[in-house]
């Protein structure tokens, strides 16, 4: 598999200028819109993002170095059929993750039946043994999952990673769409696009649906942030704002008699559901890191007493561990009885001698990852690595093989992207957001497309210089969504012509 022959989502595998039959019109739009015009719109979008403060703080840099994540004006488009297949697979995936978590923190049947090696769970730093037997309200652990998908061909989608802790990026899904509606209204005339702006409503519905039994009246839901120095703070405030709930920091909460309260100008208000965007390790200094200032002492006790729902539940990290990931096909089969509708990327568990040997023999062809790494750190991309990097990883692998997995370098699909010389293919991945409430799984038709802006690069992480695109999901019932959007587009056009006078 060579990287320069990757499947392109618009042009397909052919060299022609017509595009895949489904996307002839999109191809036409890309061909017919002058480069300068696309560039102008992209700059306008980025200026708006900067002004709105949709920024991303880069750790280790001064606050002054807040960045915006580069936005690409050429959208990625999914057909209704592609989305239908994907969402079916996604529902199966997150239902499995929740079943797995309930089992691991409950009867542990999957370990007893020998599907997943027990030591992989019980010895895992993400496993919270003290929560054994603790059932979260309504039995749901992973309420919000960001499943990273990659594509290699017309029908070949793979799950790259399950993010079951505090996946971020959904604000970009929403803001990118706003920017596109304003700047490229003609695209929404060409296509009937499913709207994404219901997401905050669905999220709030999900939060309310998992309120604990002790809730009296309407559940009080809050979003808990580490504070405005956190890289995802914009998203935290954006979500709290769109849901109309309080955005709290640890200092705003106190636990008294196993009940969580927030401090308001009118006194204390009881809290029922906390959508926390803080990792387990920091939420309660009495249980986790004692020196953490981000946490609320006693929060875990309140959770264990059944007086508050934590979203996602503590301990979900075990489900998105990369070592567990490699067992997902078996885990899906175990709980659903069927095959995974969305396959995994082939994964070598370096803890297994055979796999380790294969990995060491093929380091220049593989991607090697730390099982507990994230954000594109602690990663070797064999084909583009230097000899020195490869040797460093070889030594690390030999020393602690259990800390690594390896995967083949996939020919990730490309999407036309605006670059200096015009529009050129760049590799992408895709993160849809799945909500699990007491009434089942809901997925807003959309997600975050991340794009590697460097030619040939496969690294799409925003902390590594990746950008984002809007992801349009086409409606299979034409006209259903078109009306509302062409309306907003007319308004946009009017204000623009007034601005020009």
């Amino acid at each position: 598999m060579t990287l320069n022959r990757a499947f392109d989502e618009v042009w397909g595998t052919q060299e022609g200028r017509d595009g895949r039959p489904e996307f002839t019109e999109l191809a036409g739009w890309i061909n017919d819109t002058p480069h300068q015009e696309l560039d102008r719109r992209q700059k306008a979008a980025e200026a708006a993002f900067r002004q709105l403060g949709i920024t991303f703080a880069v750790y280790g840099e001064e606050e002054a170095a807040e960045r915006i994540i580069p936005f690409d004006i050429v959208p990625r488009v999914f057909t209704a059929r592609e989305w239908a297949n994907l969402s079916e697979g996604l529902v199966q995936r997150v239902e499995t993750l929740n079943a797995f978590l309930a089992d691991v923190y409950g009867p542990q049947k999957i370990l007893k039946d020998g599907i997943v090696p027990p030591e992989l769970i019980l010895g895992n730093p993400q496993f919270r043994g003290f929560l054994m037997g603790q059932k979260p309200p309504h039995g749901i652990f992973a309420h919000i999952c960001g499943i990273d998908l990659v594509r290699t061909g017309p029908d070949d989608f793979f799950v790259l990673e399950d993010n079951a802790r505090t996946p971020s990026g959904v604000s970009y899904m929403l803001e990118n769409r706003e920017a596109m509606l304003r700047l490229c209204p003609e695209l929404f005339q060409i296509y009937d696009v499913c709207p994404v702006d219901r997401y905050p409503d669905l999220l709030l519905e999900t939060l309310r649906s998992v309120a604990p039994a002790s809730t009296r009246g309407n559940p009080t839901c809050v979003l808990m942030t580490p504070g405005h120095f956190n890289s995802a703070f914009y998203e935290h405030s954006f979500l709290a704002d769109s849901m109309g709930i309080e955005l709290v920091e640890a200092a705003d909460l106190e636990v008294d008699d196993d009940i969580v309260w927030m401090r308001t100008i009118e006194g204390r208000v009881r809290v029922d559901v906390i959508y926390r965007r803080i990792d387990d390790d920091y939420i309660d200094p009495l249980v986790f890191k004692p020196d953490s200032m981000l946490g609320v002492p006693g929060l875990i006790a309140a959770y264990r007493a059944g007086n508050v729902a934590l979203v996602n539940a503590p301990g979900t990290g075990i489900a998105d561990d990369k070592a567990i990931y490699s067992y997902m096909p078996e885990i899906v089969k175990y709980y659903t009885g069927g095959d995974a509708k969305l396959p995994n990327v082939e994964t070598y568990r370096c803890r297994e001698p055979q796999a380790l040997k294969y990995t060491l023999d093929n380091l220049d062809k593989l991607v090697v990852k730390l099982v507990d790494g994230s954000g594109g750190y602690g990663m070797l991309v064999g084909p583009t690595a230097t000899q020195a990097q490869i040797e460093a990883f070889r030594a690390a692998l030999v020393a602690e093989p259990q800390r690594y997995i390896a995967q083949p370098t996939l020919a990730l699909s490309t999407v036309p992207t605006l670059v200096e010389s015009g529009v050129a293919p760049r590799h992408v991945d895709f993160r849809p957001f799945c909500l699990s409430g007491s009434d089942g799984v809901q997925i807003v038709p959309g997600g975050l497309t991340r794009v590697a802006l460097q030619e040939g690069s496969l690294v799409v992480n925003s902390s590594q210089g990746g950008g984002t695109k809007d992801s349009l999901i086409l409606s299979d019932t034409p006209g259903e969504f078109g009306g509302g959007q062409s309306q907003s587009q007319v308004i946009g056009a009017q204000s623009q012509s007034q601005g020009g006078r």
């Binding site: 709105l52 703070f233 955005l247 709290v248 401090r263 100008i265």
Partner: protein, 311 residues
């Protein structure tokens, strides 16, 4: 509303107001320095330092009190906690932490003014300095406009409350310093007082035209004091600011049912200022009156903080 949110909103109100006031003060000082018949120079800038209570800290920098140095200190200095840059840093930091309580427009006005100063390393001479402070004033007006389009809820009340408390303080300081500075020991009120300084006061609060509308006599110091302290028609006057504080505290207590020490002090002040005439103020001593006013304003500020558990 979270106590932390209320506190941050209140301080946004104060910091934006303070940044705007300092910007106005700089403009008026540049004007005083440049346009008056007898160049005021050093004295004008010294008094600007006094008005913003930055004279002591500026002295500690060891710099010469040139217009350039003082201008830079009041505008861009990170060491000066009341410089325009420091105020905008603090306002933006507060705004960022409570974005959910602000409207998009209100946030954007703060963020834009912050972005405008962010990459600026020096203010240069007075012409460039005007170029720096003018946009600050414009953004502050934009923020005020956005504020008036926000829901009339607690968020609105706390920001406005902070702004009114800050405004009362600034106006009182402005009159006190300028007046004090210019009235040598034993000098009689209404004597040989530098006209330019009184014009500067009016300029700082954009009240020249207002003055002409309300008073038919020429520029008289006690009338300027009357306008800035007692005339409710002037939104920046001490009386108007005191009224506004009462109004916003009322709105908060109506929505939350909270009534406390802050309400009590605020109403007392309102009654007191209603019963005061400019003659009695001058009779007691303008400086004494203003000093008490400033101290009382600070007492009200701490009563607000404890009543709403700013913590």
């Amino acid at each position: 509303m979270l106590s932390r949110t209320a506190s941050a909103l209140y301080w946004i109100g104060r910091y934006v107001e303070r940044a705007e006031f300092t910007a106005r003060l700089i403009e008026a000082t540049i004007r005083l320095d440049a346009l008056s018949a007898r160049p005021a120079g050093r004295g004008a800038w010294e008094s600007a330092l006094l008005v913003t209570a930055a004279d002591y800290d500026f002295g500690a920098t060891g710099q010469d009190k040139t217009p350039r140095n003082v201008g830079a200190y009041l505008t861009l200095s990170r060491e000066n906690p009341s410089s325009i840059r420091s105020c905008l840093d603090a306002a933006r930091s507060n705004a960022k932490s409570v974005r959910t309580a602000l409207s998009r427009d209100a946030w954007e006005a703060i963020n834009r003014s912050w972005l405008g100063l962010r990459d600026r390393a020096s203010t240069g001479g007075s012409h460039e300095m005007l170029g720096v402070v003018e946009p600050i004033r414009a953004e502050a007006r934009g923020f005020e406009g956005a504020l008036h389009r926000m829901l009339r809820n607690e968020a609105y009340s706390f920001i406005s409350l902070g702004a009114a408390i800050e405004r009362a303080d600034n106006t009182a300081r402005l009159i006190d310093v300028k007046y004090h500075l210019l009235l040598p020991e034993g000098e009689k009120v209404g004597g040989l007082i530098d006209r330019d300084q009184w014009t500067t006061i009016l300029h700082t609060v954009s009240a020249n035209t207002a003055y002409r509308w309300l008073y038919s006599d020429g520029l008289k110091p006690w009338l300027v004091a009357d306008l800035l302290i007692l005339r409710r028609e002037l939104p920046r006057s001490a009386a108007a600011s005191v009224d506004e504080v009462v109004m916003h505290l009322n709105a908060i207590s109506q929505r939350t049912g909270l009534l406390g020490e802050a309400d009590r002090i605020a109403r007392q002040r309102q009654v007191a200022i209603e019963r005061t005439s400019i003659d009695s103020i001058f009779g007691r001593g303008l400086h004494e009156y203003l000093s008490e006013f400033i101290i009382e304003n600070a007492r009200l500020d701490s009563a607000i903080a404890s009543q709403f558990r700013f913590g």
